[in-house]
């Protein structure tokens, strides 16, 4: 009996991997099918095999540029999250500040970050600073907003208890409100992990001499479509890695 149950569980684990494998096979098959049906030449749409080949041949080049983009993303994530966390706590401490600042934040959200990317490059130059700032700008609001939501949704019974205990504002914030809001912060950080690379890549497109976004534009300009796809592959893998890391962190932002 127990053997059968174990078998069923093992089958569940296998089928999860199996589904992922199936999805990849399906994607590659579709890719090949498009090439076969349209007869696209390889400078328009290279075969998956050529992309892998290009990735291997250019591994040092792609690795160096991935490192630059990853640095931008991680810096942007750290700075943007820290700013968002501090802003949310300040807003939660002062209703008046919230009324002044929140409309401003919403207004800045209405400005597409893409539109000001050239300005940032003009002001901060072609180095990584302008890309980091792009990432910061993109994630700042989601982090602030998610964390603030958690901070202001402490159940009434808990805030009542803290009030009758005559706790100081900062101690109540530190020992109750912030801890209560950690799962919400986790949600915000997960979003940020996916958004931050977008900011970095846009920054690199607008003006850079290094990074995966730059490499993709360069490869595109030289009709090296296989290299462009290889860079894209590196970008996807990097984003997934960052996302998994942040998800692991967010999963620890639970109460128990």
């Amino acid at each position: 009996m127990s053997g059968r149950i174990t078998g069923a569980f093992a089958g569940g684990g296998m089928s999860k991997l199996g589904y992922a494998f199936g999805a990849i096979v399906f994607g590659l098959g579709f890719w090949m099918l498009v090439i076969w049906v349209t007869g696209a030449p390889s400078f328009i749409l290279p075969t998956p095999w050529r992309v892998v080949q290009a990735a291997w041949d250019n591994r040092a080049l792609i690795g160096a540029h991935t490192l630059i983009t990853a640095t931008e993303v991680i810096l942007g994530l750290s700075i943007g999250s820290a700013l968002g966390i501090m802003t949310a706590i300040q807003l939660a401490l002062s209703q008046r500040l919230y009324r002044v600042v929140m409309p401003l934040l919403v207004f800045t959200q209405a400005v597409p970050v893409f539109a000001i990317a050239p300005l940032l490059t003009l002001w901060l130059g072609y180095g990584i600073a302008s890309k980091v700032l792009m990432a910061v700008l993109i994630i700042y609001f989601p982090v602030t907003s998610a964390f603030y939501d958690g901070l202001t949704r402490v159940p009434r019974d808990i805030t009542d208890m803290a009030r009758t205990m005559n706790g100081t504002r900062w101690q109540s914030m530190r020992r109750i409100t912030i801890l209560h809001a950690l799962p919400s912060l986790g949600t915000g950080l997960k979003l940020a992990a996916v958004y931050a690379p977008i900011g970095a890549i846009i920054g690199e497109w607008v003006g850079a001499s290094r990074g995966l976004g730059y490499l993709m534009l360069l490869a595109n300009g030289h009709a090296k479509t296989d290299l462009m796809f290889a860079a894209l592959l590196a970008l996807v893998l990097m984003t997934l890695t960052v996302s998994v890391a942040v998800n692991t962190l967010a999963a620890r932002l639970k109460w128990d």
């Binding site: 159940p155 019974d157 808990i158 009542d160 208890m161 803290a162 009030r163 009758t164 205990m165 005559n166 706790g167 100081t168 101690q171 109540s172 020992r175 109750i176 801890l179 209560h180 950690l182 109460w255 128990d256």
Partner: protein, 245 residues
């Protein structure tokens, strides 16, 4: 800290501007237990919350309108411990950390020795380092009770503090509370006539007409659960509650 004051309440509860019941004119005697009974939704918890100074600014919520005064004329704020109806325990803290939350919030160092002693007396000593999410409803309620007792303030306001406990634990916790809160002014909301008759120096029945007092037995609380006069009083009180609209 001075002795426990009497508290005088005069006013009515309203929801969104509509009075919920007639004027309540009630004095909580100094250093004694007052048990409040009444049907659900009659405003018992609102009354309790107002004494705790928790009347919201939100006009949509139920509110107490009127005066709540201590006999010594001083502010109530800072002299009240409050135990809410839901067992408020913080899931990110251990049992022990939950119990010493008050001093922690005030930025003072807690008396861990008496906290541990109290944990022993509510029967949770073995669980002191567990997270509260691992506890049963009854255990959580005992954590909340211990935390309220830990505050050691002259006035205690308890909203159905024993509702989630099994019969024997309930009797134990009633005895413990009666002992630790003796000499304090206590207001306790309950649904259980037996509990009110066992614990109350004074029993108040809340109806839409207002608050009326019900005479408890002569013995001083906590009274024997099966003493004839306790049982008689309990039966009469239940009949009265069932008759009251």
């Amino acid at each position: 800290m001075t002795g426990a004051p009497a508290i005088h309440l005069n006013g009515h509860v309203e929801i969104a501007g509509q009075p919920l019941f007639g004027t309540v004119d009630l004095t909580l005697p100094a250093g004694q237990w007052t048990c409040v009974l009444g049907r659900s939704g009659v405003g018992k918890s609102t009354l309790l919350r107002s004494v705790a100074g928790l009347n919201g600014d939100d006009a949509r919520c139920s509110q107490f309108r009127g005066s709540i005064e201590a006999s010594d004329g001083a502010e109530l704020s800072g002299r009240v411990s409050f135990m809410a109806q839901s067992d408020v325990v913080l899931p990110w803290l251990s049992v022990l950390e939950n119990i010493v939350l008050g001093p922690r919030l005030r930025g003072t160092s807690p008396d861990l020795e008496s906290a541990n002693e109290l944990l022993k007396r509510v029967g949770l000593a073995a669980h002191r380092h567990k997270k509260t999410s691992a506890l049963s409803g009854g255990m959580r309620q005992r954590v909340a009770l211990a935390r309220t007792l830990m505050e050691d303030r002259p006035i205690a306001l308890l909203d159905e503090p024993f509702s989630a406990l099994d019969a024997s634990t309930r009797a134990d916790m009633q005895d413990l509370s009666a002992q630790m809160l003796s000499g304090k002014t206590v207001l306790i909301v309950t649904h259980d006539p037996a509990e009110a008759v066992r614990l109350g120096h004074q029993i108040a029945v809340l109806t839409p007409e207002g608050a009326t007092l019900w005479q408890p037995p002569n013995a001083s609380p906590p009274r024997g659960q099966y003493a004839p006069e306790t049982i008689d009083c309990q039966a009469a009180l239940l009949a009265h509650l069932r008759g009251a609209v």
